[in-house]
Symmetry: D2
Subunit: 337 residues, 4 copies
Amino acid sequence: MIILLKREANKEDVRRLREDLMERGFSLHESTGTVESLIGVVGDTSTLDIGTIEARDCVDQVKRIAEPYKSVNRKMHPENTVIDVRGHKFGDGSLQIIAGPCSVETEEQIMSTARAVKEAGATMLRGGAFKPRTSPYAFQGLEADGIKLLLKAREETGLPIVTEIMGVEDLPLFEDIDVIQVGARNMQNFKLLKALGKVKKPILLKRGLANTIEELLMSAEYITAGGNAEVILCERGIRTFETMTRNTLDISAVSLMKQKSHLPVCADPSHATGILSLIEPMSLSLIVAGADALEIEVHCTPTRALSDGSQQLTPTAFTELMVNIRKMAEFLGRKIG
Amino acid sequence: MIILLKREANKEDVRRLREDLMERGFSLHESTGTVESLIGVVGDTSTLDIGTIEARDCVDQVKRIAEPYKSVNRKMHPENTVIDVRGHKFGDGSLQIIAGPCSVETEEQIMSTARAVKEAGATMLRGGAFKPRTSPYAFQGLEADGIKLLLKAREETGLPIVTEIMGVEDLPLFEDIDVIQVGARNMQNFKLLKALGKVKKPILLKRGLANTIEELLMSAEYITAGGNAEVILCERGIRTFETMTRNTLDISAVSLMKQKSHLPVCADPSHATGILSLIEPMSLSLIVAGADALEIEVHCTPTRALSDGSQQLTPTAFTELMVNIRKMAEFLGRKIG
Amino acid sequence: MIILLKREANKEDVRRLREDLMERGFSLHESTGTVESLIGVVGDTSTLDIGTIEARDCVDQVKRIAEPYKSVNRKMHPENTVIDVRGHKFGDGSLQIIAGPCSVETEEQIMSTARAVKEAGATMLRGGAFKPRTSPYAFQGLEADGIKLLLKAREETGLPIVTEIMGVEDLPLFEDIDVIQVGARNMQNFKLLKALGKVKKPILLKRGLANTIEELLMSAEYITAGGNAEVILCERGIRTFETMTRNTLDISAVSLMKQKSHLPVCADPSHATGILSLIEPMSLSLIVAGADALEIEVHCTPTRALSDGSQQLTPTAFTELMVNIRKMAEFLGRKIG
Amino acid sequence: MIILLKREANKEDVRRLREDLMERGFSLHESTGTVESLIGVVGDTSTLDIGTIEARDCVDQVKRIAEPYKSVNRKMHPENTVIDVRGHKFGDGSLQIIAGPCSVETEEQIMSTARAVKEAGATMLRGGAFKPRTSPYAFQGLEADGIKLLLKAREETGLPIVTEIMGVEDLPLFEDIDVIQVGARNMQNFKLLKALGKVKKPILLKRGLANTIEELLMSAEYITAGGNAEVILCERGIRTFETMTRNTLDISAVSLMKQKSHLPVCADPSHATGILSLIEPMSLSLIVAGADALEIEVHCTPTRALSDGSQQLTPTAFTELMVNIRKMAEFLGRKIG
């Protein structure tokens, strides 16, 4: 961390600042120029509050140099983290395809969709039992019953289950779930993140609507700092001024997160675009950009869906998509599953 | 809701769509033009999923006409909602000034700050016991002990307490708190909103970093739909491309929310700007724009603060600010308190 | 400017970097820590390209410390710039109200609107002769004929004219215009800015849709660096994710630009919000925030307007607005005109 | 276009609205429901100003149904536009690689870079002679001399030249240039677009920093409406809240523009990301997403560049990139050149 002092800084103020920092165990190296004087602060500055230092009269600006994320930082841990979910791996170069409906609606719907995506080549099943909806009047999910139906679908198809949690109090219901998903709107629900740090299960952590890559890494750090090293980052589109697509899919974030962190990275082209005709080109682009997994919405009858019908593929369309995903994976020398 | 049909729409598909909507109790009025044909859907369309209708082959686009928020909509309830907190009112034209530190840190800090803001003319005390922090390594708040210190400060100063909740499981700790705040990062924590719909206490609901005004109103609707009509909306800056201010304070949102909804509106110039020299001009502008309350950060010793030091006013600066707030309130014929 | 070196920086590379900088006349002060080593570069670094320095193998990051704007920086010129337009002043504490239609459409329209705004108390007349329109099929303005009509309106009413230029080649037509406006879409039309640096007339420079405050100041610097010191900055709303207002009016930018620069600041609540009912509260808030001038759209018959009808006030509504503007100006001790 | 009437609309007002629209040649189809009444307007509504209709007392909202772009719309012209530049084609499925330095700096620099990119397999040469720079103190380009050097490089290497124009007045200098580029900051410089509509040369039109896809298509429409059908659209990153990348590359826009328009689409991963390590993954993703061309910055000695050094590839790095681009093109069955 670098502290820039004001030109007219009072010497006594600077002396006190210096002392306070040294008392807290930091070592300092200073540099006094004719125009700018600065103090370099060495040590674990992740506990220092920039604003509080800037509140001092003698300080002009504070610039953080070191990245504030540590355990998820590739610099600290150069090897990929590999997460094993019933034999399917994230982070070892293979590609996981997590498919299924937006919401679990009925037994027939989830079973027939699960069979269809398995048949087409998906490696895991997704489906929402708890649904975060903008409107309190919209369908809110089957909750505990939805979880049961997902487990039933796993029993029949063997596909591991990825499903979203919305509150700490529901954790007991997720005991048999394979991967717990944290949705975009909960990316900075720090209570939930802390609770998931104590869980012995992989967490699929989605980037918030307007959260930076650094903030996503810091949220992952909440989980890893709590003791759970198995975090899968997930890009799902960010909110921008563009309205033609639902969100703006930030594919560069996928490549950049693979470089900055050792954690596996997933991406969700369905939520990111909200447009059926974009799901194939975006899926293939994401694979090329280095995604370890894709989450894709498939519904046995999208026109009957209780949520997000317009972005869910039919089984037929998903089967065609898988043909092209397989070709691309083969070209890149990556195994699906 | 208006459904635009595709030019080449299959008649049988359209017939089925029409039937399905009528079965669900909607009445339809149709209009067939040479270029565009459309179906107007009349009834409570807030339960209809736009995407699922757009998933049908015969449909080109769906446009929602009616505002999706109902109980918080001024059209449904033209009179201002007035919320009474120990005799201080939100929404009757008076102005509440909620001041205090970002975080409760020590007994001495909260007591001396509480005395100072009371002395300067604040009408309520704010202070964070549970702190949402981007970094797991940053100070996370005194939690239950912080709540106790706030209640002690109320005992001495008589100022009602506004403080933030971060999870449903902490609700019992808020029993004696006067106003429960929901922070920006939890604006779409729907589990929490539902729980607060069952509480008999005013809720100060902050706009999310990248949430639209409509989404904020829908989140308020979660609380009111649950049975708690006492919601105070709060503008606290949105995330934009601008980096010179911490966030972009959307003052037009304050005026617009007063027009669209009957709920009282608060604003937080401290978090919105992150810049001390902007707090006075923004506070006065917000009052002019119609804010019912302001939330302002004040700390007895900002350079010792454990969080956000750079945006917290000293008691002296807050006292000067209050002089100008009082003049403006007087000019506008508004009572403080 | 501070250059952070990589930990593993090659000494020979660092030596060459140091030499190159000194050859270009900079003086350096270095600081070698155990964790980070850095070089402070002293001199006029506004000519240095950050990217080119970062391209060197030995460099980790480059951080600019000094503000890149100079002649418009209040630090360099603490006194307000005061611009006199036919006796009306910008920057001396008085308030200018620039009113008129979005576009000049007909002689009758501009004359009757000019008379009405004059009568209501406006101090200058605005009106577009050249109109930047998203669609090539929309009304593009009366061009040279529009300029003539504006001058005729000035002749009758005595109101100075503010009107927009869209290209260098039209400059001769603006010879008798009082204030030349540069629209948001041309804020970084550097050819135009350079040409306006050679003009002896005040320039009203609007902030671009997605341009930062710093970029607006840099665009002003293009004009002042060319020799024309009379620049009025103008906030007109920025593009964000919010869709309920046309743009997001950044009132904090008005206060901040007054602090960072000595140039006068105008604001345009009509374009910023696009909503009639917001024009009054935003106008008053902007005055409180320190705006030296407001630009407000008024049309004698908005329902007949060729552009932007929905945000243009009628003369009656403008007259009512002026009553409240006058009261606020009086309260603040500011003179209109 | 659909006009929603207010519930309490005055009948006489509605009658007048109806008459005015019919007088202008539109045909109307109306639908009167118990809740909402609406008027569908049929005809070329691209000339109607939404705001002016919304200014009427009887009107609640106006919704545009038809896309406002016509000649660039794939619905009007289903076949791809193919643009031939000295035998290299855009839009026929082949892939053009436009490489070269950010700025033309010296004869030696442009010649050696041109030779290097030719050798590595680039099909066209880019290089800025006129440089739009945020700061007036930064290098502004060699202007006319830069154009001459580019032509010299074409003479030696045979590579067609792509270079940026900044003002109408410079058009004569571009007579021998192969493709004229319009930069992001000039995407809505409508004077320039109109002038380019009269030119007989392909135009590479870059998306503005904060312009929607629809606005980019409308700017292309300015050129095609003027008579020049040869427009290449270019995605180059948009401005969002994310700061880790320079801009956010919107790869979904590339696929979507190929669907919505028949024009060829180029993309610029260098400006979009500003990060060397992202250029390869983004280039490959863009090709997969359907880009007809890539524009990539290469400089013989990036550490000596006068602009944007950090994002320019060395010839060696570009040569390696081309190896992977060739493999991907081959896999997709696309020819380079």
